[in-house]
């Protein structure tokens, strides 16, 4: 009898001790569990990305048909600002994956491809938990951009003083047409190869009225329907590069609601330097 009581008491004490041990270690165990399963989400997201996303966004998120995801301007909120999105970057990514894009991203011009819906709620193939894994994977790219303080440098950080900017009245340096010819490869998809369907033609052979760029510029500057700010041909060309929405050449303006939006990317003011723009303008003026 006494042995039963002793053994029973010992068992109860042992149970209490073990429960106490669990109580003490529970906080750290729970957080390491959460870390481990967040990491596993990234692994699952990586596999799904390889299967579903790399064809448009590149295996390493470098972009292609779709915008680059392994890019600072995604994580510092710049793309969101450009389209006026108010939420967090994570919500932006989640929304894009699940609901697709009825409008193109600010980071690329419209190339006729808009992101399809991927969430089951919107008719796509992926469950909510699969979307979460993709979000975790894409957001993991932001780690590469984190500064030493663990934060992403803000979008409104000091702009490059040599960037072309959006002010078309500034004085540009002398342009080198030969160098300009090497800078316009990305533009030719819409303005040469894709003209006149996608964008206004540079070459007279494809232009609807058979005129060249300089002639077009002179004509439109003085037209009553011109809505831009340029007063010279150079300024007109400058404006058409950095502020394409200022004046959209008919018939490219499309439906009324699209009249204030262009399919041409509107961030060349930030991505091109003044010298680049000068060279491009010089080149454009030489196209017969």
């Amino acid at each position: 009898m006494i042995w039963r009581v002793l053994l029973g008491t010992f068992s109860i004490v042992l149970t209490m001790v073990v429960l106490g041990y669990v109580a003490v270690t529970e906080q750290s165990r729970m957080s390491s569990f959460a870390t481990a399963y967040d990491a596993r989400k990234i692994e699952a997201g990586a596999a799904l990305f390889e299967a579903q996303c790399k064809n448009c966004h590149g295996a390493n998120g470098e972009g292609g048909i779709g915008p680059a995801l392994n890019a600072l301007d995604l994580f510092n909120g710049q793309r969101m600002e450009e389209i006026g999105w108010n939420g967090t970057v994570e919500a932006y990514v989640r929304n894009a994956i699940a609901a697709g894009r009825p409008r193109y991203s600010a980071a690329i011009g419209d190339r006729g491809q808009r992101m399809p819906t991927f969430g089951q709620a919107y008719g796509g193939p992926l469950r909510d938990d699969q979307i979460e894994t993709l979000v975790a994977f894409v957001m993991n790219w932001s780690k590469a951009f984190e500064g030493p303080d663990g934060r992403i440098p803000s979008a409104t950080a000091t702009p490059n003083p040599n960037a072309a900017g959006n002010d078309i009245t500034i004085e540009l340096p002398a342009g080198d047409a030969a160098r300009g010819a090497t800078l316009v490869t990305a533009c030719q998809a819409c303005h040469v190869a894709g003209a006149p369907t996608v964008g206004p033609a540079w070459e007279t052979a494809k232009a609807v009225d058979g005129k060249n760029i300089v002639q077009h510029a002179e004509e439109r500057l003085t037209d009553a329907s011109y809505t831009g700010q340029a007063t010279t041909v150079d300024q007109y060309l400058f404006e058409s590069i950095v502020n394409p929405a200022a004046f959209i050449v008919p018939p490219y303006e499309g439906a009324t609601w699209q009249a204030t939006v262009t399919t041409m990317p509107n961030n060349y003011g930030a991505t091109l330097l003044k010298q680049d723009v000068a060279d491009i303008i010089a080149y454009l003026k030489t196209i017969p």
Partner: protein
């Protein structure tokens, strides 16, 4: 005034005796009410070991109280030792209660919808204090319950305690065995991870095979709640698990135990005259009274088993949580839970309908009618050699069938897939994922040069690959001798293995396992491109923090 009169008998006591003695008196009264008949002095004398006074107050809790009303007031001395019962019946009831209590805790944090079930599990494990402990206890308790219930049945069979007059007790016991197995099976589905979904899908797939086909399809819809397991199926298995089966279990446990007490615990077979059942006529000098002996033994067993369970679940046993259930992806080598491996083994023998339904049906049918078929009067082991041998044989058959249920038997995929599946299995973490992430140095490594890998981890993994390739080479040689294509079946001729590790994202590495044979796709082919011949590639991603060793 009359309405102001506050009458308390207790205060009168205090007035007449003084506060101390009055309190003691009151406490004594309360104790006697709670125990339904034993006051403090009775309890103390009982625990001291005094002989029972006359009239014996120790039987009053049985007569007047609810909790002990069905328990016997005394047992035969020969039934109270570890032999013959091994306490298995008691443990079965204990584990049932244990599962109900741990299950109630888990129920609070769980919703049976495929949209949130898995996230609920993550919440329980990462956000609820003691959540993992409760879950591990629940799962360990479930496995213990299946084991204990089977051992109880085995013991009852061996001691012949199913014979007259206890046939119906055995019958209700087999019902309880089925309840236990289906409880365990239905609970398996609830976490809604890959293991849960596919293990239960295997089990449920047997009902599709019911003939005629129309009946089979109907029963399949009934069981799965749809053509495939989804919201409907999860909900109805959840309700089975938490409502219907526990109710049936409680009712039949009541019937079962009532019958046990009615007939009395069977004595060890060797002490009874053949054909007589003297369990109910216990001579006075052969009695062990419930109070205090059996009570203290049971309390002790309770404390020891609980301590053991908590200790095991904290330090040794952790229920796994695989990735989220994906109805479109079946993990290679998915198996049923271990107690159903025998059915999975039978399914590998032949026709699904016969081996998956008829044969197990016959097996359980035999169990049900056993006491009505096997009516020999003697319970003695010497007189039941045939029966006991048949029982042993049945256990051996179960063991063999269970082995056949494992992926090791009648494996269908080719050697290249099997070698890689050993390294990165789809049903559990496996050796690769459990290795140290820091040891995955970026580069391309050939398994033939395992010894020149930068560290021991990579050497070990590459050596495992190489070993698999050697084995496949041996099979290929045998294939050639037998006139078959060398790289067919489990054979690979001139197999080579590679492991390619790349940096992918911060903290994430991409690892490709590549196996080529008979020269592979050729020197100009890009590795791991669709359409390459004689090549197998599988890619996996591994993150620095995913910690597959923590378990979870």
């Amino acid at each position: 005034m009359a309405i102001w009169k506050f009458h308390s008998p207790f205060l009168d006591e205090v007035k007449s005796k003084g506060l101390g003695p009055a309190l003691l008196f009151k406490t004594n009264e309360v104790v006697e009410r709670i125990t339904a008949g034993l006051d403090i002095e009775d309890i103390r004398s009982m625990l001291r070991g005094d002989p029972a006074p006359k009239p014996n107050p120790r039987v009053r809790p049985h007569a007047d109280g609810f909790w002990l009303h069905m328990r016997p007031t005394y047992y035969h001395n020969l039934t109270v030792g570890v032999y013959p019962t091994f306490r298995m019946g008691w443990l079965s009831t204990y584990f049932f209660a244990f599962e109900i209590i741990t299950g109630l805790f888990l129920m609070v944090f769980y919703t049976p919808s495929p949209l949130v079930a898995y996230e609920n599990m993550l919440n329980i494990l990462s956000n609820v204090p003691f959540g993992r402990l409760m879950r591990d206890l629940h799962k360990l308790g479930a496995e213990m319950m299946v084991i204990v219930v089977c051992l109880h049945m085995l013991r009852t069979f061996i001691t012949g305690s199913y014979k007259k007059p206890r046939q119906f007790t055995w019958f209700t016991g087999v019902i309880l065995l089925l309840v236990t197995l289906v409880l365990s099976f239905s609970g398996y589905l609830l976490p809604w991870d890959q293991l849960a979904l596919w293990a239960v899908t295997i089990g449920a797939s047997m009902v599709e095979a019911i003939q005629p086909q129309a009946v089979g399809d109907f029963v399949n819809l009934l069981v799965r709640g749809g053509p495939q397991f989804n919201e409907g199926g999860l909900l109805r298995w959840y309700l089975l698990h938490v409502l219907l089966l526990p109710i049936i279990g409680i009712v039949f446990t009541g019937v079962h135990y009532y019958k046990v007490v009615l007939h009395g615990h069977g004595l060890p077979p060797e002490v009874e005259p053949v054909g007589e059942d003297t369990a109910k006529r216990t001579p006075v000098d052969q009695r062990t009274y419930f109070m205090p002996d059996i009570l203290t033994r049971e309390l002790l067993l309770f404390c020891v088993v609980t301590a053991g369970m908590v200790f095991a679940a904290t330090f040794f046993y952790h229920a796994p949580l695989e990735p989220h259930a994906d109805p479109l992806v079946t993990p290679l080598h998915t198996t049923a839970p271990w107690y159903f491996l025998w059915i999975q083994g039978m399914l590998k023998i032949g026709d699904k309908f016969f081996w998956g339904l008829i044969a197990p049906g016959i097996a359980f049918g035999i169990l049900f009618v056993l006491p009505y078929l096997e009516v020999g009067p003697s319970r003695r082991y010497g007189d039941r050699r045939v029966g006991l041998s048949l029982g042993l044989f049945a256990i051996a058959v179960l063991a063999i069938l269970s082995y056949m249920g494992t992926p090791r038997y009648a494996v269908l995929s080719s050697a290249d897939q099997e070698i890689v599946a050993e390294l990165i299995p789809q049903t559990h973490p496996g050796p690769f994922r459990q290795s140290n992430w820091q040891d995955f140095v970026v580069g391309e490594y050939a398994s033939a040069e395992a010894h020149s890998a930068p560290n021991a981890t990579l050497t070990r993994l590459l050596e495992q690959m190489e070993e698999g390739l050697h084995h496949a080479e041996a099979v290929a040689a045998e294939n050639e001798r037998a006139g078959r294509a060398p790289s067919s079946g489990a054979g690979l001729k001139d197999g080579e293995g590679f492991m390619i590790i790349e940096d992918w994202q911060t903290g994430l590495k991409r690892v490709t396992f590549r196996i080529i044979w008979e020269g592979g796709p050729g020197a100009d082919a890009t590795p791991c491109t669709a359409g390459n011949k004689n090549e197998f590639c599988q890619t996996t991603y591994i993150h620095r923090d995913s910690n597959y060793r923590q378990g979870p």
